[in-house]
Symmetry: C2
Subunit: 336 residues, 2 copies
């Protein structure tokens, strides 16, 4: 059997998380440092400020850890491939980002992450560090409105982390940081589709199976079940199907509302396709009277070379817009 | 036969270039506009300044046209998929970016581009617009040193366009802009490898063939012949093979020299792999005494969902470093 059917350019297939982590630290050119086993923390943090810690499994780069940066998160706790960071890694990162004003945990809603960050918070409490938690659950296709707490965190985490990071750069209390991060989450909705699986680095095997003639509508970034399998279709047909799922949710999107619109590739879907989808989606947003304050077209929330796209909408009120307009710089997302 | 074996999310397979172009203009949120048939030009250009026009075939997004931006190129002439922009499109873009001080054409060395931009320059001359040309030829693996003029332009175009754009934002004459763009090109070298083809949007067929157990060392972004087919190998083995090709070229890289190091995915190669390659490459750069002023890890020069990576090195002297450190913002590359 071919030991590397996906032709991945890696070293030891079982050490990808550690290897990519070392590369990530180098990608920061001295602006961030390695902490403990597998955490990355920015140097030159604002003193006497509440801290923002993000994290999650590896293999989805540039998220989560590539969203550490200037005007972005203070640090990240990094798990193994597709696995939550263990509590001791959460703790080491917590200790490193804390500047006496407590730490906000901000991460996607996956069972392993919730468990490990919660234990990390308990360990931190024993060390006298106050922790609050905001869980990202922007994926409208992963559970109905009345089970919102079961929804996963997907690509909306990029605008959410950006907004929370801008808050962390300006506010003085952990309560205020938690309030703004929660608001950013509450103002964000995403829906994704998948056309092809990625591969598991340790085995080279596909992350899931999907027939050649269908699209997984609402499918999660690891191949979690979505709302439906639909026939393969054009961008013009797909864009309204995706947006209607967001429009049908409980976030009020009224004429005159300003939004950030993020078109994300899940890995190998090419930017050509993202741009064609944007061409189809934008008139639908404008037809509802929405004003697009900023468009992002990029591949930031991925699962290896999985093919597929997601749309995320973040509604900006005056408070969030001010946070949005602050510049930021990270491996995963940079804006002037 | 499956009409869309690559499962591309597009509309009419023969109209991808026009469709993505419309999406690209929308991605600029009003900062750039459509000009003529298929050109994009920034609004609010600096008056009485020499202009920088880039361009090339579509299908490689975010290059070339996604490098138009603030502190980036003034405009771009866009071809069909994998095809040079025709002379009338070059002319329409030239007229739109010109502010009375002439226009610098900066594009990759491909026969069709050279021919069409040259004809465009003749047409522009008839309109009284002065044009200079700098051709990007950073791909060391595409021809030996004594045939440097035959070398293709590949991922090095990102730092080259960034530097030339910073020059365009500051200098007053076309001669000075051309000198700095040429210098940026002369200070840049790239080498790429491929592991899997992308697909041709019009047909869904692979862009080239490559056996499952080999890597195309030095292969071009459309599958052009490189220096060798080598057995599939690890990141640790591949990084020195790639860097040695650059080190063996004629750009002096001496202890203490400062560089920009750009690790680029050709499409579907995941950032995990880029980071693992960075982990392996950076110590080799440092072992030569090179100082990495900035690392870029991203997917900017692509060919649909082709898999593979490239390394680009740009050597910064004091003049180029000053240009490098200026902020820029575009769909393809943004820095604070």
């Amino acid at each position: 059997m071919n030991p590397n059917p996906a032709k991945k350019i890696i070293n030891d297939p079982l050490k990808c998380a550690d290897d990519l982590f070392e590369g990530l630290v180098l990608a920061y050119d001295g602006k961030a440092r390695k902490v403990g086993t597998r955490s990355i923390v920015m140097n030159d943090l604002r003193p006497d400020a509440p801290a923002l810690l993000i994290g999650g499994g590896a293999g989805h780069e540039p998220i989560y850890h590539g969203l550490v940066g200037k005007g972005m998160a203070d640090g990240a706790a990094i798990g193994d491939i597709f696995a939550a960071p263990p509590p001791d890694i959460v703790l080491e990162a917590t200790q490193a980002v804390n500047r006496g004003k407590g730490v906000l945990y901000l991460y996607g809603n996956y069972a392993g992450d919730v468990m490990n960050f919660d234990i990390g918070a308990e360990l931190a409490a024993e060390e006298g560090i106050e922790v609050r938690t905001v869980i990202i659950n922007d994926d409208v296709a992963s559970a109905p409105i009345d089970q919102k707490n079961n929804r996963r965190g997907v690509a909306g985490l990029v605008p959410i982390v950006k907004l929370a990071s801008a808050a962390a750069a300006t506010v003085d209390t952990l309560d205020e940081l938690a309030r703004l991060a929660q608001k950013a989450n509450d103002h964000t909705r995403s829906v994704g589709v998948s056309t092809k699986p990625g591969s598991i680095p340790a085995t080279g095997l596909p992350t899931f199976e999907l027939a050649d003639d269908v699209i997984g509508l609402g499918m999660g970034i690891h191949g979690e079940k979505g709302v439906a399998l639909i026939p393969m279709c054009t961008a013009k047909e797909l864009a309204p199907k995706m947006l209607d799922i967001i429009f049908g949710d409980d976030l009020p999107l009224n004429p005159g509302d300003e939004i950030v619109f993020f078109v994300n590739s899940l890995g190998s879907t090419h930017m050509m396709e993202l741009l064609i989808l944007l061409k189809e989606a934008r008139p639908l947003l404008e037809a509802r009277g929405l004003k697009i304050h900023q468009t992002i077209v990029d591949s930031i929330v991925t699962c290896q070379e999985m093919a597929g796209v997601s749309f995320s909408i973040t509604k900006l009120d005056a408070e969030l817009k001010k946070l949005w307009d602050m510049p930021c710089e990270s491996v995963g997302y940079t804006k002037l």
